[in-house]
Amino acid sequence: MRLMNWTRRGMLGVATGIAMTMGTGLPAAAETPPGVLVVGQIAEPKALDPAAVTAVNDFRILMNVYDGLVRYKSGTLEVEPALAESWEISDDGTVYTFDLREGVTFHNGSPFNAEAVKFNFDRMLNEDHPYHDTGPFPLAFFFSAVEKVEVVDDMTVRFTLNAPYAPFLSNLAYPTGLIVSPAAVKQYGKEFGRHPSGTGPFRFVEWRSNEAVVVEKNPDYWEGAPALDAVVFRPITDANTRTAEMLAGGIDLMVEVPPVSLSEFQNTDDYTVHEQAGPHVWFLILNTKEGPFADKRVRQAANYAVNKQAIVDDVLEGTAEVAAGPTPPAFAWAHNDALEPYPYDPEKARELIAAAGAEGAELTFYVTEGGSGMLDPVAMGTAIQADLEAVGFDVKIETYEWNTFLGEVNPGLEGKADMAEMAWMTNDPDTLPFLTLRTEAWPEAGGFNSGYYSNPEVDRLLEEARVATDQARRAELYKKMQVIVHEDAPWVFVANWKQNAVTSDKVENFQLEPSFFLLLDDVVKN
């Protein structure tokens, strides 16, 4: 009996000790002070050097630490002045001259001027630049049209392009175009990505690996100091854990709420759910070169056969809208509002398939397990498979991990598959169709037209839109392109994702941007 007595007493002691250390004696989950906003991010950032990163997750931090020459006007994808107060474009569309904002300094005290702008672009684009080795710069091709950058005077800088390139301003507003402090790059070299210095509303304080990136108010911000004292970005990769942190009060703002968790935050005053459609489109690439989808009628049949509304409502729980065509409605000025999505009409699909003689065709369908912008690809793929089988196709799914998937899809579907899932988020209406729908963008030519779609009229429209500097003219060309592509159906147009976020009741003045960036300079935390 002595053995049991000792054990019971011992266990009781240990249990009491644990309870006292962890439990009720101490304040519950740490509450963050007013003025400090804790953001639940989806991953650890790679680096805080805007020229070196590619992920939206990293952009969410960068946009608050740096400014670009231009930026997107709040609530739109249209460009407005930022570090450049104004600019002139030469008549032939190849020379851009920017007048820079006076009196702006970087967080480390060094001045912002034309030399700094030149340094930024030379570092990225010129292999002989002494600080080019602080790269690699994977998105440098956004500025591959830039032939040279010249300092006209201290506050004027001139970009010369090798050909007219309409998306240039929009690319400058993208995080790859954010301006870093040359002095900080020179000081830290390859370590600059962990010691960022920009001109933005918040300045960098510390980066605790895999715990938090902390930024604080820049009291000298040229547009007025932000309302928050500090922002803490916490990487929480697991979506369930992120939801739990939000419910427990460990974070004040959560991005990319999983559709299944949304109900936790709806219908309560404690949280606000924010939604914003963005420049995203989720589609199926169809192999137009060979097999059943070489026939336009069969491609249209696939568009009729897939119940997109059910996917959006049931699989994605309303976190997306049905896509009508290749251009997301978020590009308001370039989107053709007259375009209607293909209705769900299995009867019509069967008729078209019969007319094309493609009944019972076997289809190989590439599905990915997950990836940037892919939403819920396995569940969506399965729903699409069921819809296509309902109209008489025999669909075989092959599933790949994201990087492997890209390695299979990007070189082209020929000889391998009839269809593949894909999603894009872009910053300009030019990017996606130019890289994925032109004949010149077939994989062997270095593009992403993995389904080998080809229509000379679409090619002509896109090439003309790229060199046109007048926005109204560009819009007209893009709208025509969308009508043709809708009719030709090289893709099954499925969904446009609505980005979401949840804030606690202590957060005010927060709004999501169509660019999917996270801008916090006006946000208040009580």
Binding site: T7, A30, T32, K190, E211, D238, A244, N403, T404
Partner: protein, 315 residues
């Protein structure tokens, strides 16, 4: 004894060399490359080739292997391209976090497991034995990540006793109490399965020993029951329990991957998962080799401990 240890250390060298070959080959053979991972949607063949050249990945695999091995032997594990910092810094940072978690879990499961096993065996078929056997069965059957999520929901979200995730509080954090509050749930979730396994094997090892003649002799001599169990029987049973501890230490270390993801523990398991997904080759290779080396060393320590208890093993 010194000879035995030296022999075991020498035999570890081919094991570690084998590990470098395997991890390098796996990273070279899996589809998808770092450039594709970095560029994502923008991975044109042209962009991929250019970025791979910048990353030094355009050389043939055997050349890259020997460069890597040569650098590593000089203590240079290379630079993680996705984190843009030296691999060894990252691995050491993260491994120390894993060590805190896995170490605590291991101590928990070893102590509780052996205790439960001994009590079970001493009270075979008694109430305590039945209760422990039931609890052990339950513990072995629950996946640790599921238990972790349930603990978060109950203790952190519902009761708000403990923080949901992380290793230190973001504000006003630091210090032992803060660490223990963050450590409690992941350490327990991680130790449950191993505790069950150790308890079961300790119970059967103890039962085996308790049937032997020297125990009857001890009891006949009039040695107290407590002393018989804890001094005579447990010492003898430890010879078969210790190798189980060694194996369970490996399970705890590998199980830490799931727990680190659920609880956002900044450990090496989560680091490796992220590194594999971004094809951060040098970080995966360096991390695996480092963890494997630690595990090999731990196993040598276990063997040495066992040989101290049972000199017959030292051959």
């Amino acid at each position: 004894m010194g000879g035995y240890i030296a022999k075991r250390l020498l035999s570890a060298i081919p094991v570690l060399m084998g590990i470098t070959v395997i991890v390098f080959s796996i990273m070279a053979l899996i589809p998808g490359d770092p450039a594709t991972a970095i560029l994502g949607s923008y991975a044109t063949p042209e962009n991929v080739a250019e970025l791979n050249r910048d990353l030094g990945l355009d050389r043939p695999a055997p050349v890259r292997y020997f460069i890597w091995l040569g650098n590593m032997l000089q203590g240079d594990f290379g630079r993680s391209f996705s984190l843009n910092r030296p691999v060894i810094d990252e691995v050491l940072d993260r491994f120390s976090a894993t060590l805190v978690l896995a170490g605590t879990s291991f101590v928990l499961c070893a102590l509780l497991g052996i205790l439960a096993g001994v009590v079970s065996a001493a009270r075979q078929y008694g109430l305590a034995d039945k209760a422990i056997t039931f609890a052990v069965l339950l513990g072995i059957s629950i996946p640790s990540f599921f238990l972790g999520m349930m603990m978060i929901l109950f203790f952190a979200v519902r009761l708000q006793w403990l923080p949901v995730s992380g290793m230190y509080a973001i504000y006003g954090g630091g210090g032992l109490v803060d660490l223990l509050r963050h450590l409690a749930m992941p350490a327990i979730a991680l130790s449950v399965v191993a505790t069950g396994v150790i308890a079961r094997l300790s119970r059967s090892a103890m039962l085996e020993v308790l049937r032997q003649d020297f125990i009857r002799t001890a009891r006949a001599k009039g040695v107290g029951e407590r002393r018989v169990i804890w001094r005579h029987a447990l010492r003898a049973a430890m010879v078969s329990i210790i190798p189980v501890l060694g194996i369970q230490a490996g399970f705890v270390l590998s199980g830490a991957v799931y727990i680190e993801i659920v609880f956002q523990w900044p450990g090496v398991g989560r680091m490796l998962v992220d590194a594999i997904l971004t094809r951060d080759i040098l970080l995966v290779q360096g991390g695996v080799v480092f963890v494997a080396a630690c595990y090999v060393m731990f196993n040598i320590a276990v063997d040495v401990a066992q040989s101290l208890l049972d000199p017959r093993i030292r051959t």
